[in-house]
């Protein structure tokens, strides 16, 4: 890196220029990473927080609660199976209004007040060992401030008003805050007096070997892992695909920009590289020098861009779905460094092909 470092010192202007472009890409990549994580959190954080390993849906429902209807018949198949705990869950989206006129969207999760979902979803504040669900709503913490304990929330489209009886860290589902209620209340809201024990899906806790496929075959259901069930969350697949596409394009653009810069830089230095080789520098020496230079520029630019991204990210309020996780930020930074290096491969190949004779004006 003898020559590379001194080139960086003297040709500071042009390296700052390309470094700024890479830093901007790193900044965008960090912000997109935060947005992607935030959107995912907003879409499935409630589902992710559920103390379950698998979810069982009606066959063909594609992991979507709104397309799945199960009943006591399916529940019986999954109950009493060794290494397996199963409890029904009802999920639907409602709009509710308080007496003061506050209107909130809710992902209403109806669970058995005596089941493991209610027990393990209880927060410290409302903790009596179980969520105190009977006849009321336990809301996601996110709604604290908009509504208070004791408020009556009228569920629009029904004639029912339910009291707010607590808050818990329930998270969100489909970008909507979760509200827990009892399964009976949920069934009454969704089906009126003709529920016939229906619910959306079965929440499972698998603690050992269980033949889930056989149970599915018997019950006519479809069991997926909790992570696989994320795909059924409204908008989840489209959002993650869009974010992945944008980040992918950003990486491709970055590779092209870095590749183009180092190709032009190599062309400009052709005679110098030829001279180095004429002085006895091997291809390995020349490539190592260029790669070292590239690594310094990439590392410094990505560090600066990511740092500014983290700074800006910390200024984003609760209004936008934005969440930065060390893992995903590191992943996007490393990906940027890798594609940057890959983008320079064309330039590196050119380096190895430069003829040392170019350093002499060879006469014909």
């Amino acid at each position: 890196m003898f020559l590379a470092l001194r080139d960086l010192r003297v040709a500071r202007g042009r390296f700052v220029l390309i470094g700024s472009v890479i830093a901007l890409v790193a900044l965008m990549s960090t912000l997109l990473s935060g947005l992607a994580t935030g959107l995912v959190d907003d879409g499935i954080s409630g589902l992710r927080a559920l103390p379950v390993s698998h979810l069982t849906f009606q066959r063909g429902a594609e992991s979507s609660f709104s397309r799945s209807v199960l009943g006591p018949q399916e529940l019986r198949v999954f109950q009493g199976v060794p290494n397996l705990r199963a409890t029904p869950i009802g999920v639907s989206f409602v709009n509710a209004a308080s007496g003061s006129g506050t209107s909130v969207d809710l992902a209403l999760f109806g669970v058995d007040p005596g089941g493991f979902l209610a027990a393990e979803s209880a927060s410290a504040e409302s903790d009596r060992g179980q969520l105190p669900l009977d006849g009321g709503l336990v809301l996601s913490e996110r709604l604290r401030g908009e509504v208070e304990i004791g408020d009556q929330l009228e569920i629009l489209g029904t004639d029912q008003a339910l009291p707010v009886i607590g808050f818990t860290f329930a998270g969100t589902y489909g970008h909507v805050p979760i509200a827990y209620t009892s399964l009976d209340t949920w069934q009454e809201l969704v089906y009126g007096r003709d529920a016939r024990g229906r619910f959306s899906a079965l929440a499972l806790q698998v603690d050992g070997p269980v033949d889930l496929a056989a149970l599915d075959a018997e019950a006519g259901t479809e069991t997926v892992t909790k992570v696989a069930a994320f795909n059924g969350s409204p908008g989840y697949t489209a959002e993650t695909a869009t974010m992945t596409l944008i980040r992918g394009f950003l990486l491709v653009i970055s590779a092209l920009v870095v590749g183009a810069f180092f190709t032009v830089w190599t062309v400009q230095r052709t005679r110098q590289i030829g001279l180095l080789k004429a002085m006895g520098a091997s291809n390995l020496y020349v490539v190592r020098d260029a790669l070292g230079q590239l690594a310094v520029v990439l590392a410094a630019s990505i560090l600066v861009g990511t740092f500014v991204g983290l700074l800006l990210g910390s200024l984003v309020g609760d209004d936008a779905p934005f969440s930065l996780e060390a893992g995903s930020v590191i992943q996007s930074s490393v990906a940027l460094a890798v594609v940057g290096m890959a983008g320079s491969l064309v330039a590196l190949r050119r380096l190895t092909q430069i003829d040392p004779a170019i350093s002499l004006s060879v006469e014909a």
């Binding site: 001194r6 006895g280 040392p356």
Partner: protein
């Protein structure tokens, strides 16, 4: 008896120009001794730079053999040729071709770095060499801060830094005024003798020919010894 620094035996170079084959060098024989400054003159386009590129292992001849420090090079692969060039050959170019980002002393240290021997002794040697070339007060100047003559003296220092057996100089005074040309050629001649290297210089300027131990003329694709003839 140690091997000659440079020997060319029956070297021929031909190039294809469409369907035609052009002969540039034909049956060139040359033997350089240590401490000897040999000047090659010739018309423009006579093949002088080709001769240097073949002698410096930058180009393979179509025929014949080039021996560097006694080692035949025809059968060497590119990596081996690079190694021989690094250990035994140095160039001084028509324009100094200094690296714009390196200070004068770093131009010499780069040679030691390529050799994998950039230690305290090498740094000290770089300073000494530049001092001997009258550039003791220009060690930390960039090429853009040096005059044409100073740049060429740095290039000579760089060539000598690797302690080569052979120095090949391609019209090193072409871009300089007569006074500075003389200084550069005197420096080359002095260093050739002081360091016991063999120096082959391609030269246009007849005013400097008296500094040569031997004079050769490249004519009709061959080298002719014209040492005995009076200088123009």
């Amino acid at each position: 008896m140690s091997a000659r620094p440079l020997e060319l035996k029956h070297v021929g170079v031909e190039v294809h120009d469409g369907d035609e084959i052009l002969t540039i060098l034909d049956g060139v024989d040359l033997a350089l001794e240590r401490g000897q400054l040999v000047v090659v003159t010739g018309r423009s386009g006579s093949g002088k730079s080709t001769l240097l590129s073949v002698a410096g292992l930058l180009r393979r001849p179509s025929r014949g053999e080039v021996l560097i420090a006694g080692e035949p090079t025809a059968a060497l692969n590119p990596r081996q040729r690079t190694r021989v060039r690094r250990d035994h050959v140095a160039f001084v170019h028509q324009s100094p071709q200094l690296f714009p980002s390196l200070r004068a002393v770093e131009q010499l240290e780069l040679v030691a770095h390529i050799h994998g021997r950039l230690d305290r002794a090498a740094r000290s040697r770089a300073r000494e060499l530049l001092g001997e070339l009258g550039l003791g007060d220009r060690l930390h100047h960039l090429p853009s801060q040096l005059s044409g003559g100073e740049r060429q003296r740095v290039a000579i220092g760089r060539a000598l830094m690797g302690q080569p057996s052979v120095v090949l100089a391609d019209e090193p005074t072409a871009a300089l005024d007569p006074e500075r040309s003389r200084q550069i050629m005197e420096a080359l001649a002095q260093e050739t003798r002081a360091r016991d290297v063999a120096t082959l210089v391609v030269l246009h300027d007849p005013a400097q020919l008296d500094l040569a131990d031997r004079r050769l003329e490249l004519r009709d694709h061959r080298l002719h010894d014209v040492t005995a003839q009076p200088t123009p």
